[in-house]
């Protein structure tokens, strides 16, 4: 099947029609739901104290995580400096502390960094381990499919395909674990799915 055939097949599918009554009643249904939910806050009346409290809580939790990661790191770096990121227990604990918010745990020459999303919008999925070297500058990370991150000074997107293959894509390169010798724009990349880790 070529692209044209696929396009034709996709476009041939129509959205099922709804009755005229449905379109008449839908706006009223939404209005009714809005009446039963709390009203919109007027402009300017933002609730900063809870936001500050939430931000403070996150900052404190990050400090704790940093301390815990540093502790693990100290114990592990004698053997494999990047073993920490593939440690199932560490991953589980971090993910439990920040459910659906961990975008990545990055380890580079500056240390270990936890990248969190503002909202709980990171779906639970198989973690992916990526190691990228740009010359002598190397970074390792654990992330999830679909995350766009800045690694070694470059914006990259990490994706996991249906066969557990990893794709690392940037503005001028695309690397795939199926074809590790492919175009990677001078970067040395290793990546694999951590499907063996039970989260």
């Amino acid at each position: 099947m070529n692209d044209f055939d696929l396009e034709q097949k996709l476009k041939a599918v129509r959205v099922p029609e709804r009755e005229e009554d449905y379109w008449e009643s839908f706006p009223r249904l939404v209005s009714a739901k809005l009446r039963t939910t709390p009203a919109r806050r007027p402009v300017g009346e933002q609730h900063w104290p809870p936001r500050l409290a939430w931000g403070g809580g996150i900052a404190f939790a990050c400090l704790l995580i940093g301390f815990a990661i540093g502790h693990w790191h100290g114990r592990m770096e004698k053997n494999d400096p990047y073993a920490l990121l593939q440690n199932g227990k560490m991953l589980r604990e971090v993910l439990t502390l920040f459910p659906n918010r961990v975008r990545a745990i990055i380890q580079d020459e500056h240390g270990v960094q936890l990248v969190l999303s503002d909202q709980s919008d990171i779906p639970a999925s198989t973690p992916i381990y990526v190691h990228i070297c740009d010359g002598k500058q190397c970074s390792s990370l654990v992330t999830f499919s679909g995350q766009e991150l800045e690694i070694a000074g470059r914006k990259v997107t990490v994706l996991l395909d249906a066969q557990d293959g990893v794709i690392v894509a940037g503005p001028q390169f695309a690397w795939s674990s199926d074809q590790p010798a492919g175009a990677s724009s001078g970067l040395k990349i290793e990546a694999r799915s951590l499907s063996s880790i039970t989260l």
């Binding site: 996709l10 099922p16 939404v30």
Partner: protein, 182 residues
């Protein structure tokens, strides 16, 4: 093309708490939003839930609408995010498949697995949500990759990859399906 004067008035009145004005906005955009939510969920019932959720979110966020983008684009972005964040979606989808598989009867409003053309929605549902969104935005709603990237809040490269991966998977699924049917 920007919003019409009438639409700008409705937005203003809605901000001031006029329910009739917001209903007018819903009426103007409900088909577009339902179409998007149906493509994303493959279910009429889920599409309705998500369309409601999108309009409710839009109402609550009306103060953040600056008027620099078209209202429809702003609303569309909210609906896409609602689709992507809707966590119950996967569970309900599985339930629907099970029900369809167990029943030979095809209802009038909801297509069944054996209905003509059903293989395409079924294949779309097998894509990860973000890849499905990339296909819905680019193929069905005619956005280019740059526009889709803006709506999805990611880079154009990411959209290109999602479209590429989704097309590869869809071709595989639909070729296999077509082969077994013919």
């Amino acid at each position: 093309m920007g919003d019409t004067d009438e639409e700008k008035t409705w937005v203003l009145q809605s901000r001031n708490g006029d329910p009739a004005a917001f209903e007018s906005l819903i009426r103007a955009h409900q088909c577009m939003i339902h179409s998007l939510t149906f493509r994303m969920t493959g279910s009429m019932a889920d599409a309705e839930d998500l369309a409601q959720e999108a309009f409710i979110r839009a109402y609550r966020q009306l103060d953040s609408y600056q008027g620099t983008a078209k209202f429809s684009s702003w609303l569309y972005r909210i609906a896409v995010n609602a689709c992507l964040n809707w966590r119950q979606r996967e569970m309900r989808r599985d339930q629907i498949y099970t029900q369809w598989a167990e029943s030979n009867a095809v209802s009038q409003s909801e297509p069944g697995p054996d209905a003509p053309g059903w293989e395409v929605p079924a294949a779309l549902m097998k894509l990860p949500a973000k890849q499905r969104a990339a296909i819905v935005l680019t193929v069905y709603d005619g956005h280019n990759h740059a526009e889709a990237a803006k709506i999805l809040g990611c880079s154009e490269t990411t959209v290109s990859w999602r479209v590429f991966a989704a097309r590869r998977k869809l071709k595989r699924l639909l070729s296999a399906k077509g082969g077994s049917n013919e």
